[in-house]
């Protein structure tokens, strides 16, 4: 069935360049990066030009294929190949030509030395336009970064250039059938030889972009265990395992990496998820990256970036769903206002109903708030290149704390946000004619890969808030207090600054309350409600972002030196108010739950389920 013809069944807007400029340059002041030596080859005008180029690319090459790729999923051919949509190759080529795979790598490594704040603005646009295809680009960039950070110059020269050119695909191969959340249990083996390589044997599952039609070769950054290495995480090493290895004469030869299947999924259907088998014919060579047994440490550096990236993707897809919903409600009329008693009166547009507005504002609050948190993280990531000494360490610690929060908050809340987008469209939202159901299906994976929400929550409570005697928590408190002080300069913001202060105090007090379990060595108990703790932390921290946004908008309005529309800035302040009324109070419920001492999730008798 087709939808009624007077609705545009494909929303044309999927992202918002003004919002990006506002978040990156006004709220998070990324322009100051360009004063630093590492980034001084850039200015704001160029950064905005690059973002505009990314938007033009997404509009032309990516967004029109979003629904089409969903309808024509990646498919295994039964013999090692995964058939993907032909447009994928066009996208990878054009994105590479534009510079978006190697954007943030240093000049030394063949990149463009663009701050992540700018690069990720472009990636956000790609994610909102067609999140699966951005996955291919993001993985290549990530794999290349592992090589540039920890590999030899020879490895950089061999692998990174073709990855940046979009000829070769980089992947991250961690997961095995028995080792998903628990990477300590991986079994893929690496046997030393008297040459410069190890012989690899093993299987990896769920490997994104592990095989497809858009690239000629695949460079798998793979975790494996060198024979005789200690058990657990201290015995894991990182290898480059190309599908085709480079011979001394430069020719390629098959490296015994076989794609044994592709998973059919509920979402991200154009994004191949593969099953890889290494060394079935005993002829698979892996090249060690960095030192032996340090693989997981290396991989974690990349995973932290990837976690911010996944959180940002969730926010971006939620924003795209919101834009689609926003368009629909301004086209469809239904019903009348409760006070309108005349049935002859024309029905009103959906956007006029209070409940529809509530759903829209909830989506805006979640998507823009989470995106702002991702921008905060990107900026802090960039600062690592320019700060030094204690300032650098502090910045790093705070980023470490925020990373699981942006991943978990954004992925969980974006699901709710996209669900509301469907709800706003009513029955049509549930049909394949509109993209919102696809956004909703796509988002779910973001709470699973790169570490589930459960794993993120345990990382936050079990590690990040306690490391260095709680230093990260102190730094967070300091930053939030700074924002509260800035907001207090505006009378209209004082009540919200007060609410955030209360939420922050509640957060600190409940953290202290929980720490006592850890001090008593009751670790299971301590971590049992880590998810609730994460929910509280997420809502408080995104509340901080909204206060920053509200303060920035208030300042721009006051100074009256900007080029935003009045509605744009006033909408920011209004959404902040909405967040503080409808979302921030959720921290109180979490605190109540965490305060309550009974423990209901340690059942030993499974008959009770």
């Amino acid at each position: 069935m087709n939808s009624p013809q007077n609705y545009t069944n494909m929303s044309k807007a999927f992202s918002d360049l003004q919002l990006l400029e506002f978040l990156i340059f006004d709220t998070h002041r990324s322009e100051e990066l360009f004063k630093e030596e590492y980034y001084e080859h850039l200015d704001k005008e160029q950064a905005l030009a690059m973002i505009a180029s990314a938007h033009a690319l997404a509009e032309r090459d990516m967004f029109p294929y979003y629904q089409e790729m969903d309808g024509n999923p990646a498919k295994y051919d039964g013999n090692g190949k995964v058939m993907t949509h032909p447009q994928l190759k066009v996208i990878v080529q054009n994105a590479a030509e534009q510079g978006w795979i190697g954007a943030s790598a240093s000049f030394e490594h063949g990149g463009m030395q663009i701050p992540e704040s700018v690069n990720n603005a472009a990636q956000h646009i790609f994610q909102a336009a067609n999140n699966g295809v951005q996955g291919y680009l993001g993985l290549s960039a990530g794999a290349a970064r592992l090589i540039t950070n920890f590999g030899t110059m020879e490895q950089v020269e061999r692998y990174v250039k073709p990855i940046f050119e979009g000829q070769w695909q980089g992947t991250m191969a961690l997961t095995e059938p028995q080792a998903g959340s628990s990477l300590a249990d991986i079994k893929t083996s690496a046997t030393p030889t008297d040459q410069d390589y190890y012989k690899i044997k093993g299987q990896k599952i769920f490997i994104s972009a592990g095989q497809h039609e858009a690239c000629d070769n695949f460079v798998h950054l793979t975790l494996a265990r060198i024979e005789g290495a200690p058990a657990g995480v201290r015995g894991i090493s990182l290898f480059i395992i190309p599908k085709y290895r480079v011979k001394d004469d430069g020719d390629l030869e098959y490296n015994d990496v076989f794609c044994a299947g592709e998973y059919e999924k509920m979402g991200q259907k154009g994004y191949a998820t593969t099953h890889l088998v290494f060394g079935d014919d005993d002829n698979c060579r892996g090249y060690l990256v960095g030192e032996a047994n340090k693989g997981l440490t290396y991989m974690f550096q990349l995973m932290n970036e990837a976690r911010i990236g996944v959180g940002q993707t969730a926010a971006s897809v939620a924003l795209a769903a919101y834009k689609a919903a926003l368009q629909y409600v301004q086209e469809r009329s239904q019903g009348r206002h409760p006070s309108e008693k005349d049935p002859e009166k024309d029905p009103v547009l959906l956007i006029e109903h209070a409940d529809v507005q509530r759903m829209l504002l909830t989506q805006k609050a979640i998507a823009e708030g989470a995106l702002s948190l991702a921008c905060e993280c990107n900026k802090r990531y960039d600062l690592e290149h320019v700060l030094s000494g204690k300032e650098k360490d502090d910045n790093h610690l705070l980023l470490e704390l925020l990373t699981p929060v942006v991943k978990a908050y954004a992925s969980e809340e974006a699901s709710r946000s996209a669900s509301l987008a469907i709800q706003v469209l009513g029955g049509y939202g549930y049909t394949l004619d509109f993209p919102v159901q696809q956004h909703y299906r796509d988002i779910k994976i973001m709470a699973i890969y790169e570490g589930t929400t459960g794993i993120q929550s345990m990382d936050l409570l079990g590690r990040k808030v306690v490391i260095n005697n709680g230093r990260a928590l102190q730094l967070l408190t300091k930053e939030i207090s700074k924002s509260i002080a800035q907001a207090n300069e505006y009378d209209g913001l004082k009540p919200y600054a007060g609410q955030l202060e209360e939420a922050l105090n509640g957060f600190i007090a409940i953290s202290q309350h929980l720490f006592k379990y850890a001090q008593n060595n009751e670790l299971e108990r301590y971590l049992s409600d880590a998810n609730v703790y994460m929910e509280m932390a997420g809502h408080m921290i995104v509340g901080w972002q909204w206060l920053k946004i509200g303060t920035t908008a208030s300042q721009l309005i006051k100074d009256n030196k900007h080029n935003y529309t009045k509605g744009f800035l006033e909408g920011k302040i209004h959404t902040m108010k909405f967040y503080y009324k409808y979302e921030l109070p959720k921290t109180k419920v979490c605190i109540e739950v965490l305060k309550e001492d009974s423990w209901l999730t340690d059942l030993r008798d499974y008959n009770w389920f």
Partner: protein
């Protein structure tokens, strides 16, 4: 060969249009600007293709204030070699006079412009430039091939095409079909900063047209959907409500 490409700045196609000062002036608060798509996608890109094939130089020209520099630099990022901005503003005659004045001393083989700018849609400037320089002018070109100094231009005309031949130097306005959009890449954007953008003071020219006011078109009427089975209803609506039959 030397190519001059006229590049104009226009509001983004999604900008909300409103007026101030009694409807005499465009209100540009909150408006994002872009390069006029006909200049960018067709005129500029075709000039670049010719340069890439046969060598030469592509110079961009814009008449306007420093606020136009962003748009001009986009043209440099796409591949223009250098740019000139004539620091003044006025009506079409003023703009055309400034361009002609600059072109007169610089011996361009082809002067390109878009077929119109998407804000005022006047299609006036390139024709005036040609007239002021006493050069042949071909409008609405959808294809341009060069053979030595002779150009074969396919023009869009009502219901078909017209094929014309002209020798350099000449002025041409480019329409859809002339070339394919090029999106500036990162390297181009970085290099654009290093390319020359000269600012030249305008010569004194009197504007000949004064705007007395702008008016927005009436809001679009609501759409009524009629079931394809129900032709009688369609006829009734066309007769009674639309009053067109």
């Amino acid at each position: 060969m030397k190519y001059l490409v006229c590049v104009n700045k226009t509001p983004d196609t999604t900008a909300k249009i409103s007026f101030k000062n009694d409807g005499k002036e465009f209100d540009d608060s909150g408006v994002q600007y872009i390069m006029n798509p006909y200049d960018e996608w067709y005129a500029l890109v075709r000039a670049l293709e010719l340069k890439e094939a046969n060598g030469g130089e592509v110079v961009l020209i814009n008449v306007g204030g420093p606020e136009n520099d962003t748009v001009i630099r986009k043209g440099l990022a796409i591949g223009g070699d250098k740019a000139v901005r004539i620091n003044g503003s006025g009506d079409s005659f003023y703009v055309a006079s400034q361009i002609a004045n600059y072109a007169k001393d610089n011996n361009f083989d082809i002067i390109f412009a878009g077929k119109e700018s998407i804000d005022y849609n006047g299609s006036e400037v390139p024709a005036m430039v040609a007239e002021l320089l006493d050069l042949p002018f071909i409008s609405y070109g959808i294809k341009l091939e060069m053979e030595g100094e002779t150009a074969t231009v396919t023009r869009d005309v009502e219901g078909g095409v017209e094929i014309a031949e002209v020798n350099t130097p000449f002025v041409i306005s480019a329409a859809k079909g002339m070339a394919e959009q090029r999106i500036p890449n990162m390297r181009g954007i970085m290099m654009a900063k290093k390319k020359p953008l000269d600012v030249v003071e305008p010569t004194s020219v009197e504007a000949r047209v004064e705007i007395s006011s702008f008016e927005l078109p009436p809001p679009k009427a609501e759409v009524k959907l009629v079931d394809p089975e129900n032709m009688d209803e369609l006829v009734r609506l066309l007769h009674e409500e639309a009053k067109v039959i």
